[in-house]
C-alpha cells in the first residue's frame, strides 16, 4: 500500500513539474512593434486573443508572434473588432468561419474533438492501472533477501 501511494505521489509531482515547465516556456514576447490600444483592458484582450490564434503561414506561431503580412492583417482585424465592441467569441467565430478550427490553438470541446481532450486522461488512467497491477504483483512475491 505504501508503494502504491509513493508511486502516485511521484506521478503527481512529475505532472505538476512538467506543467510548470511548459508555462515557463510561454513567456510573453515583447509586444511593442504595434500601436497599443487606448483602453488597457482592450489591449489585454487583444494580446490574449492574438496569442490564441494560429498564423496559418507559419503554422506553429501565433499571430501575436508572427511577422508575416497575413498575421499583421489578422492583428489589424482583431484590433478593429475589439474597438467596435465585439465579444471574444464573435472574434473567434469570425476567424474559424474563414479559416476553420485549425486557426485556434486550443480546439473547442465537441464530439469531434473529445478524443483529443480525453486521450491524456485515458492514458494516465491506463498507466495508473498498469502501475497498480505491477506493484500489487510484486508485493505478493516472497522476500528472499
Amino acid at each position: 500500500m505504501r508503494a502504491l501511494l509513493l508511486t502516485w505521489a511521484l506521478v503527481a509531482s512529475a505532472l505538476i513539474l512538467s506543467a510548470a515547465q511548459s508555462r515557463a516556456q510561454q513567456a510573453p514576447p515583447a509586444f511593442d512593434d504595434h500601436a497599443q490600444l487606448q483602453d488597457p483592458r482592450l489591449q489585454t484582450r487583444f494580446e490574449r486573443i492574438t496569442k490564441e490564434l494560429r498564423c496559418l503561414v507559419c503554422q506553429n506561431e501565433s499571430i501575436a508572434d508572427s511577422n508575416v503580412d497575413l498575421a499583421a492583417d489578422l492583428r489589424r482585424q482583431v484590433r478593429e473588432m475589439l474597438v467596435a465592441g465585439r465579444s471574444d467569441d464573435a472574434i473567434f467565430k469570425f476567424m474559424t468561419d474563414r479559416y476553420g478550427e485549425f486557426v485556434r490553438f486550443a480546439p473547442p470541446l465537441t464530439a469531434k474533438t473529445a478524443l483529443i481532450w480525453g486521450a491524456p486522461f485515458f492514458v494516465l488512467l491506463l498507466g495508473g492501472l498498469i502501475i497498480y497491477r505491477v506493484v500489487r504483483q510484486r508485493s505478493r512475491m516472497p522476500i528472499d533477501e
Binding site: 496559418l56 503561414v57 503554422q59 503580412d69 492583417d73 489578422l74 474563414r98 479559416y99 476553420g100 485549425f102
Partner: protein, 178 residues
C-alpha cells in the same frame, strides 16, 4: 495468449495510423476550407486595369467562375501564369484574378508583359477580401458555381493536370445541376 495478441494488435494499429499519417502525398500544411459549400464572401473592388470599373460578386453571380488569388510578389504565381494563360484560351469559364496585397502599377506591368488570363482583376490592396475568403497564401484558386457558392478550393500553382482532373469535372457537374 493475451500477452502476444495485445502487443500485436497495438503494432497493427500503429501501422494503420502511420500509413495514413505519414502518407507522402498528403501535404500537412494544406488546410480544408470551411467555406466549401457556402456562399462566396461578397466583395466590390476596382479593377487593376480599369479603375473606373467595379468588379463585384453581385455582377459575377449567375455564372460558374474561377477566382485565382495572385500577386506580383508571389514567385509561384509567375510559374502559374503560363498555365493560366493556356487555361484561359480554352474559354471554359471566366477567370477572375484577385490581386492580393499588391502594388497596382507592378500588377499592371506584370499583366501587360506576361499576358493577361483574367476576365477581371479586382484589386485587394489591404487584403480584407482575402481574409473573408480565408486566403492564407498565394496562389490559391476557388471555383464558384452559378448560385454563388464556393464548390472547390485549390492551394498551390494551377497546372493543366489539376485543371483537367479537379476543375473540369466539377464545372460540368455544376452546370448540369444548375
Amino acid at each position: 495468449m493475451w500477452k502476444f495478441l495485445l502487443p500485436f494488435a497495438a503494432f497493427v494499429a500503429l501501422v494503420v495510423l502511420f500509413a495514413f499519417g505519414l502518407n507522402p502525398n498528403r501535404d500537412i500544411h494544406e488546410l480544408p476550407s470551411p467555406l466549401i459549400g457556402k456562399a462566396a464572401p461578397p466583395f466590390a473592388l476596382t479593377d487593376v486595369l480599369d479603375p473606373t470599373r467595379t468588379v463585384s460578386t453581385a455582377t459575377l453571380q449567375g455564372q460558374v467562375y474561377v477566382l485565382n488569388v495572385w500577386a506580383t510578389w508571389c514567385v509561384a504565381c509567375r510559374e502559374e501564369q503560363e498555365e493560366l494563360l493556356a487555361i484561359a484560351r480554352q474559354h471554359v469559364v471566366p477567370i477572375i484574378g484577385l490581386d492580393y496585397r499588391d502594388n497596382q502599377d507592378k500588377a499592371k506591368l506584370w499583366l501587360t508583359q506576361l499576358g493577361n488570363p483574367y476576365a477581371a482583376v479586382p484589386f485587394d490592396g489591404d487584403g480584407r477580401t482575402a481574409i473573408d475568403w480565408g486566403v492564407y497564401g498565394a496562389p490559391e484558386t476557388y471555383l464558384v458555381d452559378a448560385h454563388g457558392r464556393i464548390i472547390y478550393k485549390f492551394i498551390s500553382p494551377m497546372t493543366q493536370e489539376v485543371w483537367e482532373k479537379e476543375f473540369l469535372p466539377r464545372i460540368a457537374a455544376a452546370r448540369s445541376g444548375a
